[in-house]
């Protein structure tokens, strides 16, 4: 029995892609829910968008929580977790609203949790070795993943991936912490240190079709330092 599943997306000025992603998510969920065993909702956390992201998401049938100011991806993610806890969901699947994360992989993310093999399932771009980005980005991710695999004692290849499914118990244990600007790294490390089982599955990811990435050159250069800060912060919190 799967229970209640929340498919959550954090969106900031994604009016061009959000509607399409919601439709694709619904199609996938309906295809695996022929016997109506799954109760699922699609949530969009509109992080203070200045375009019609929230309106389009609502028209497409998603539930929308709108921040009236931009709080950043970490805090928007936290809002989605708070929503899941308040509404009593059992599982949260998180994916990007810009279409980079294909919703067709959602069933694969859910499977290991349903079989009791994992508490957190991460969709990894690097697991099958086919994904290539810029050298700097690939190298940075490899270095982070090796370091964090060593610390967490779990094999991780894509620590920065936001495409993941997570059990509500694992969310409850981390939701009250103060998330840094690298939430994926922080949450993964925290879950690993708390003893939750993390599993990766190979996924394909696509470049964003519209809008601008959160990671510009300045943020990309600062990323290693932020990760180090995140690691230190996680350890200091115990």
């Amino acid at each position: 029995m799967m229970g209640k599943v929340l498919i959550s997306m954090v969106a900031y000025n994604e009016e061009k892609t959000i509607g399409d992603v919601i439709v694709r998510v619904r199609k996938v969920m309906e295809s695996i829910n022929e016997d109506n065993q799954i109760y699922y909702d699609i949530l969009v956390v509109d992080d203070g968008s200045t375009d019609k992201t929230g309106e389009i998401a609502k028209k497409s049938g998603a539930k929308v929580v709108r921040h009236f100011i931009n709080l950043g991806p970490g805090q928007a993610l936290k809002t989605s977790y708070l929503y899941a806890i308040k509404k009593g969901y059992d599982l949260v699947v998180r994916l990007d609203a810009d279409g980079q994360h294909p919703p067709e992989y959602i069933p694969h993310l859910l499977e290991p949790i349903l079989r009791g093999e994992a508490d957190v399932v991460i969709g990894s771009r690097y697991l099958d070795g086919s994904y290539k980005s810029s050298f700097l980005r690939d190298f940075g991710n490899l270095a982070h993943s090796k370091l964090l695999s060593l610390i967490s004692r779990q094999r991780l290849t894509d620590i920065t991936s936001g495409f993941r499914a997570i059990k509500i118990d694992a969310i409850k244990d981390i939701v009250e912490y103060d998330y840094p600007s690298t939430p994926a790294v922080y949450i993964t490390l925290k879950e690993a240190l708390l003893g939750y089982k993390i599993k990766e599955i190979p996924v394909k990811m696509y470049p964003r079709r519209h809008g601008r990435s959160y990671l510009n050159l300045r943020r990309l250069l600062l990323y290693p330092f932020k990760t180090i800060y995140t690691v230190v912060k996680t350890f200091m919190e115990g």
């Binding site: 929308v64 709108r66 009236f68 709080l71």
Partner: protein, 115 residues
């Protein structure tokens, strides 16, 4: 001698201003106490000059002004840390308020739609 009295006069002025502001409720107790220390330090500056010389000598500072500069820097640094922590604290509270309001509004909209 007259030059030595200048900080005392400034300190006295600051003290009067502080007392007035505090009695009107323009400044908080914490701000009042921090500023009070500064005004008292200024009022007794002529005496402190002698004391500062003695302290500088005891700590091995050749020039007294180096000690004063060092102490001032430390003081400003501590004020800066205090202000940063306050801003950070307020920032966290605002973030949480925005999150709670957003969730409450979503809940309200859902209930209205259900009715």
């Amino acid at each position: 001698m007259l030059k030595l009295a200048i900080p005392s006069v400034l300190g006295l002025g600051l003290l009067i201003y502080l007392l007035k502001s505090y009695s009107k409720g323009d400044i908080s107790r914490k701000e009042f106490l921090i500023s009070l220390i500064i005004s008292i330090t200024l009022i007794f500056a002529p005496v402190e000059y002698v004391i500062a010389n003695l302290i500088a000598e005891a700590f091995g500072f050749y020039y007294t002004f180096v000690l004063v500069f060092f102490a001032s820097t430390l003081f400003l640094l501590s004020i800066q840390i205090y202000v940063i922590r306050r801003i950070n604290d307020v920032d966290k509270r605002i973030t949480r308020i925005v999150q709670e309001i957003s969730l409450m509004r979503a809940e309200l909209e859902e209930r209205i739609r259900e009715k």
